[in-house]
Structure formats: C-alpha cells, structure tokens
C-alpha cells in the first residue's frame, strides 16, 4: 500500500530468445493492441461526434476527423440546457458526501482496528455481511422514510446517510490498512498521555493518508457516477445531477448527438482526470481491496 510500483515477476513465456519466443511475443502485443483499439473506439467516436456540426454527424461513410471542428458545441451545452446547474448540484452532492464518507469511515475503522470492546467481532461480522446486501432490498423503505421526513426532491437523502459510517466497504478497507500500523505506536502515545482520539488524529490518520486518498477517489467516483439514487430522490429539473441531466438532455434534444456527446465528455472528464492524477494510488487501492477482499 506504500504505493510501490507493482513488479511483474511471473515467468514470461519468452524466456528464451528463439523464433518461437519472438512469435508469441508479437502475438501477445497484437492481441493486446487489438483489444485496446476495440475498447477505445467508442470513446474516440464520442469525442469525434462531440466536435461535429449537426450535418456532419450523419455523414456516411463515417468521418473521424470533423471538418470543420465545432468547438462551440461545448458552450452550446451550457446555453441549451441548465448544464451549469447540474454541474453545481453534482459538485455539492459529491463534495459533501465525500467528506462525510471519508470522515466517518475512518473514525469507525479506527474503532474496529485499534480499540478493544465487548462485541467487536460480532459487530464487525455484521458490517461485513452488509457488504453483500443489495441496495434494492432497502431502497423502497428508505424512500418511504425519506418521503415521510419530507426529504424527497432535496439533496439530503443523497448526502446525510454518508455521514453515518460511510459505507461498509470503505470501513473495511481502512481497517485493513490501520491494522498494519505497529501497535507500539499506540502504546507509546498512551504512555505519553495521548487520548484515544489523539492516537487516531495525531498518529494513525497521518500514517494512513494514502489509504484515505484511495477511499476519497472511490467515493468521488461513486457519487459522481451514481444514477439510481438521484433518479429515485430528485424529481425536479433544477435539482438534477449530471447523470440525470444527460438523460433529461437526451429527451429534449433527441437527435442532437453532437451536443449529447459534448455533454457526456464534460461529465466524464473529471473522472478521467482524477484517475490519471492519482493512478498509482488508485490501482494500489483496487489491488489491495481485490486481493484482500
């Protein structure tokens, strides 16, 4: 988890420099490149379409390089739809949810990882069991509850639950990380008169920033990309998130594929940006949770 580069140490199939080895080597690259091309075509087409004039969108045979390049699609999105509003809503929901999730998950994880109390193992088993629970099972009664509270069509049902534990998966991930920190640190701090919160705040938390970062990235992507929850709770256009906004947009401008694609690029851009900026931590996080999970 210390973000060391992953080393490939499986024996390669071309240990010997023979013709046979050279052939398999080329074949491996060929297959990998073909697969990459196949996966990237939809994205390339999305960007290409987003830069076309309405006429060029329906050209046959398909044009990959738009002539002329219609940069104005990216500003048109903001004038033809309350896109700025959707963006702001999504930023508010994602930002506050992220803070709530990171803060509460890291506190709870500390309790489970470093403190002894009766019933800890039972409670942790329950926590792990909730990982398997499909959202669908409590989706309906949650709605009934938030409906009774008068929270439907506000951001509250999307934000508030994140402050209560922040999700079993993140607690699990952080607990695993906290467990790796040497116990002697806690004991030394205790002897120096540090409170339990002090141990968490001054010792464990600063040591766990990479793991906190991983949780923050996952949390960001989770909320930014979420579709079902906003769909259930947000009913008026002005409250829509981007994921809902793009479907609203699709309904309004059925054939304006260039605008739809420009909007889509704008929505996914932050996700890709986060991935490329924090790629190392990100991959480490998945590796960590995947193998441990």
């Amino acid at each position: 988890m210390s973000a060391a580069p992953i080393v490939t140490h499986a024996p390669s199939i071309w240990q010997r420099r023979s013709t046979w080895g050279w052939l398999t080597r080329s074949l491996v690259y060929l297959v990998l490149l073909a697969g990459s091309a196949l996966l990237m075509v939809p994205l390339a087409w999305m960007i290409s379409t987003s830069l076309k004039e309405s006429v060029g969108v329906f050209a046959f045979p398909p044009e990959w390089i738009p002539q002329p390049v219609a940069w104005h699609n990216y500003t048109d999105v903001f004038t033809k739809a309350p896109f700025a509003r959707f963006y702001l809503n999504t930023v508010i929901i994602t930002g506050t949810s992220l803070v709530g999730q990171v803060a509460s998950a890291s506190l709870v994880a500390f309790g489970f990882a470093r403190l002894r109390f009766p019933g800890r193992n039972v409670l942790f088993t329950i926590l792990l069991a909730t990982l398997m629970l499909p959202y669908a099972v409590y989706m309906v009664p949650s709605y009934v509850m938030f409906h009774a509270l008068g929270w439907v069509d506000t951001f509250l049902p999307l934000i508030v639950p994140n402050f209560f534990g922040g999700g079993a998966f993140y607690i699990f991930l952080l607990r695993q990380f906290y467990l790796r920190q040497p116990r002697e640190l806690d004991d030394a701090a205790k002897i120096d008169g540090c409170s339990f919160f002090g141990i968490y705040w001054r010792i464990i938390l600063p040591l766990s920033l990479p793991a906190i970062g991983v949780v923050a990235i996952f949390s960001f992507l989770g909320h930014w990309n979420d579709f079902l929850t906003p769909l259930i709770y947000l009913t008026s256009d002005k409250n829509y998130t981007l994921a809902l906004g793009i479907t609203w947009f699709k309904g309004q401008y059925v054939t304006d594929w260039n605008l739809l694609m420009a909007g889509s690029v704008l929505i996914m851009a932050p996700c890709l940006l986060v991935f490329f900026l924090a790629q190392r931590y990100f991959i480490q996080g998945i590796v960590f949770t995947g193998v441990k999970g």
């Binding site: 490939t8 499986a10 024996p11 199939i13 491996v28 690259y29 297959v31 990998l32 697969g35 996966l39 939809p42 087409w45 999305m46 379409t49 329906f58 046959f60 045979p61 509460s104 506190l107 709870v108 309790g111 489970f112 403190l115 002894r116 109390f117 800890r120 409670l123 629970l133 499909p134 669908a136 099972v137 409590y138 309906v140 009664p141 949650s142 509850m145 402050f163 534990g165 607690i171 002897i191 008169g193 339990f196 992507l221 930014w224 990309n225 579709f227 079902l228 994921a243 809902l244 479907t247 594929w257 929505i267 991935f275 790629q279 991959i283 998945i286 590796v287 995947g290 193998v291 999970g293």
Partner: protein, 315 residues
C-alpha cells in the same frame, strides 16, 4: 518521563486496577468511534430492511397507511408473467455476461502479466471504460447502436451487411446491452492482475526445476493460485449482473415488448412509477433470496475448485 517512572513503580494490584479502568475507557471510546456506523446501520439499513419485510406483507401505495394482506404480494408475484419475464431476462443476461466477462478479463490480465512493455499504458486503456459513469456509457452506446447512423451499423454497411435495429429489436436489444457490459472488463481484469502478481516466484522456479514447461506451469501453478480471485470475481459478477439497471432504464425502458425488462427495472417501475410499495418490497425480498441462494451455491461449489493456502491473505 516522570509519569513513566510512577507507572513503572506501581507494580502488582495497582497496575491491575488501572488496566481495568483503562479497559473500560477503551471500550467506551471504541463504542464512540463506531457509533456513526452503528446509528447508520440501525437507521438506514436494519430499520428499512425490517420495514421492507413488513411492507412486503401489506398493500401499500404510499398515500394511505399499509394494510396487512399476508402472503398475497408473494402469491401475486408468482402469478405475474412480468416477474417471470424479468427473471428470465436477468438470468439470460447473467449467464452470458458473467462467464464471458470472467474469460475476457482473465485473458487480458494473463497477457498483461507476460512482462509486457508499457504495462501501465495497457492497464489504463483497459480500465478506462470502467471509470465512465453508467449513464454516460449508456447514452454513448445508444448512439453507437443507432440503427441508421450509429457507428456499428455504418461499419457493417461498409462490408455490405445490413445491421439489425439493435435496441429497437426484440431479438437484438438484450445482446446490445450485453456488449455494452463487456466494455467494462477492466474491473475484474485489474483484480486478476493483482492475483497473478501475488503468486510467489519460487513456485514457478520450483516447477521449472522439476521440468515443467510454460503450459504446465500455467495449468499447475497459475490456475490453482488464482482460483480465489476467480471466485471473488465470479461472486461480484453474479451480484452485479443481477442488479443491472441503468443501461436498460436509459436505452430501452425495458422494451421492446419487455425484451430487456431487467428484474431491478421492473422493481423500480412498481415502486417509483406505480408506487406499489408493498408489492415492490416483496419483489425486493425475492431478489435478496435469489442473490443469497446463488452466492451460497457458488460458495458451496467453491470448496471443490478454489485453492486456499493462505498466501494471498498473509502477504
């Protein structure tokens, strides 16, 4: 330092009494630390689940109070042809998408593990689609599958094949959604890759010394060592595919003629379009039981094919 000395000087019973008090303080602190989760679990999970169980035995349409009708919702569900249709759609989708996804992601991870150059480039490329919001990839594939002007049918037209209507065709709508799902093989791929890299090198060395070739090392070292990862991906795949929703909601709304009526979509329609909360709760519990049974089934068979030695856990 002075404090250390006093503690050190106080031996025997004093220490024991202090540890008792410390243990109590630690327990109280422990409960305080996990309190947010405990409250959240009770308020937002356990409470709603119990309520959902109760609702599933009632007639409840949100505007009036629920009325008890016993097992009627479950009886209705068994007689509802759309429940069977949606179960069929979800089952077919899972049966195709889960094995194919497992296979493709396994192969890609295996190729990437052959100490290829530009590993991080390929890894990013294959993972990229996973990062894209489901709503966006749905809209994008709606455009790619457009029967008249979509890239797929235009490409087919170049080789003189008349492409199908895709999402508007009862025959091709579900396969189209399957193809869209396979775009996201990067998720399990990354987990496989981690699994491959967790295999200790000495196992391969030992096998080589014993005269095992590349194929036999793969069959007798790689495969057994990654079975826990395959198991993990299989379980995630089943749970995920049975809850597919976004693609069908955005692209087909379950159509044409219910050809893509996924179970969760039908549940959603009942709960949030027709506000049949009681019936939807019953459907949710049926889904829960199905996922639980499938997970248990996978878990039971796993004893026969998953190899546990502890390497992956103790690394």
């Amino acid at each position: 330092m002075a404090r250390l000395i006093t503690v050190g000087a106080a031996v025997g019973p004093v220490v024991r009494r202090r540890t008792g008090r410390i243990a109590r303080a630690e327990a109280i602190a422990g409960y305080l630390f996990i309190l947010p989760w405990l409250l959240g679990f009770l308020i937002f999970l356990a409470g709603p689940m119990l309520a959902s169980l109760y609702f599933s035995f009632t007639h409840y349409e949100l505007v009036k109070l629920p009325t008890w009708i016993g097992l009627q919702n479950y009886v209705n569900a068994f007689q509802d042809p759309l429940v069977w249709q949606s179960l069929k759609v979800s089952a077919i989708y899972s049966v195709v998408v889960v094995p194919l996804g497992l296979l493709f992601s396994f192969v890609v991870a295996l190729l990437l593990n052959q100490s290829v150059k530009a590993l991080s480039f390929f890894r990013s490329v294959y993972y990229l689609p996973v990062l894209i919001p489901a709503a966006i990839s749905s809209v994008l594939f709606g455009w790619l599958f457009n029967p008249q002007f979509g890239l797929i049918n235009e490409a087919l037209a170049l080789v003189h094949i008349q492409g199908p209507l895709w999402l508007a065709s009862t025959k091709w709508a579900l396969p189209a959604l399957m193809l869209m799902n396979l775009w996201g093989i990067g998720g399990p791929m990354l987990i496989y890759l981690a699994g491959f890299q967790g295999i200790p090198t000495d196992l391969y060395e030992a096998a080589s010394i014993d005269g095992a070739g590349a194929l036999r090392r793969f069959r007798h070292v790689t495969i057994p060592m990654v079975t826990p990862v395959i198991f993990f991906n299989l379980l995630l795949g089943i749970i995920g595919s049975f809850q597919s929703f976004t693609g069908a909601y955005i692209l087909t709304a379950g159509g044409p003629v219910n050809a893509t009526l996924f179970y969760l979509l039908y549940l959603y329609q009942n709960a949030f379009q027709n506000f049949r909360m009681g019936y939807a709760s019953a459907l949710a519990w049926i889904l829960f039981v199905i996922i639980l049974l499938l997970s248990l089934l996978v878990l039971r068979t796993s004893r026969a094919w998953v190899y546990y030695e502890g390497q992956l856990d103790t690394k």
